[in-house]
Symmetry: C2
């Protein structure tokens, strides 16, 4: 499950990269500064677009690292442009891509820590399903929703990406 | 994986039920007609709030039914009030709750059909990871985001719900 779900996260990050490209094209067509999009948000007390992208990246990276016991690479959230956000997304895609199914042996029972949990821990299984997956989709969907709200032309097919359809 | 993920979807639907309650309270405090919220949307060519809730319900129900080979109950998308949406959410929670882990034996290789796939099919494994899970989180997150955009007081803890934290 862990490996297959991380492959799906990798796929979603690839879609996110395409949304960022669509956002840059939209800004060009509408003749506005594309960096304006990085500050767009749906509510004043929600993360802006750039932070949603960074959080999606962070969550996927941390999910892979946590349940495999790895130390993830540091990404300091300093992106200032759509291109820099795309580079960040691609760096996380490459990181996630480096794992094999074998790396996830024992993931379910691994002890996961988080500074926000005040000394408590979660099992790898609980952390992955209750925390990593919902948080990943929360941020990636908010990134998508902010672009849609901003007028960028995207649809459900752009969200899901290509499906593994086959002949019956 | 299927059973555990559907338990997580059930949990998320329980959170959605709480957001609907928070939405009703918000409308009361602000003295506006709560049914206005059902028509709120983030973009003119996106589903409105009611349809996002219905779609989240539909996706969870169909995910459980499809990979177990069941015929799901019909829900005709006729909800007109927040209370009716809450009843819909609770009906799907009860439906998902009726499955046991044993029901998901063989889920990965089950053949899944969809009228939109033009005669093609997906395996249960591909359908679940590529279609059901992303669609479920897409709609439940959009429901959340529309309420946040509308001013309803919610935060990430309301999205995730209680975590299975334990002593180290």
């Amino acid at each position: 499950m862990y490996y297959a779900t991380l492959r799906q996260m990798k796929k979603m990050l690839g879609q996110l990269d395409q949304w960022l490209e669509a956002a840059a094209t939209f800004a060009q067509i509408k003749s506005f500064d594309p960096t304006v999009l990085l500050g767009m948000r749906l509510a004043p007390d929600q993360f802006a677009f750039a932070r949603q992208v960074q959080s999606a990246c962070h969550t996927a990276k941390l999910a892979a690292a946590s349940v495999t016991g790895q130390t993830p690479p540091s990404h300091p959230d300093t992106e200032q442009t759509l291109e820099e956000l795309r580079a960040r997304v691609r760096a996380v895609i490459a990181y996630v891509d480096g794992f094999t199914e074998k790396d996830f042996e024992g993931a379910a029972t691994r002890v996961i820590n988080n500074p926000r949990w005040q000394g408590k821990v979660m099992t790898g299984a609980d952390y992955f399903l209750e925390h990593a997956v919902p948080n990943f989709f929360f941020h990636v969907t908010h990134a998508y929703a902010i672009l849609r709200h901003s007028g960028v032309t995207l649809g459900k097919a752009d969200f899901l990406g290509p499906l593994s359809l086959r002949a019956p």
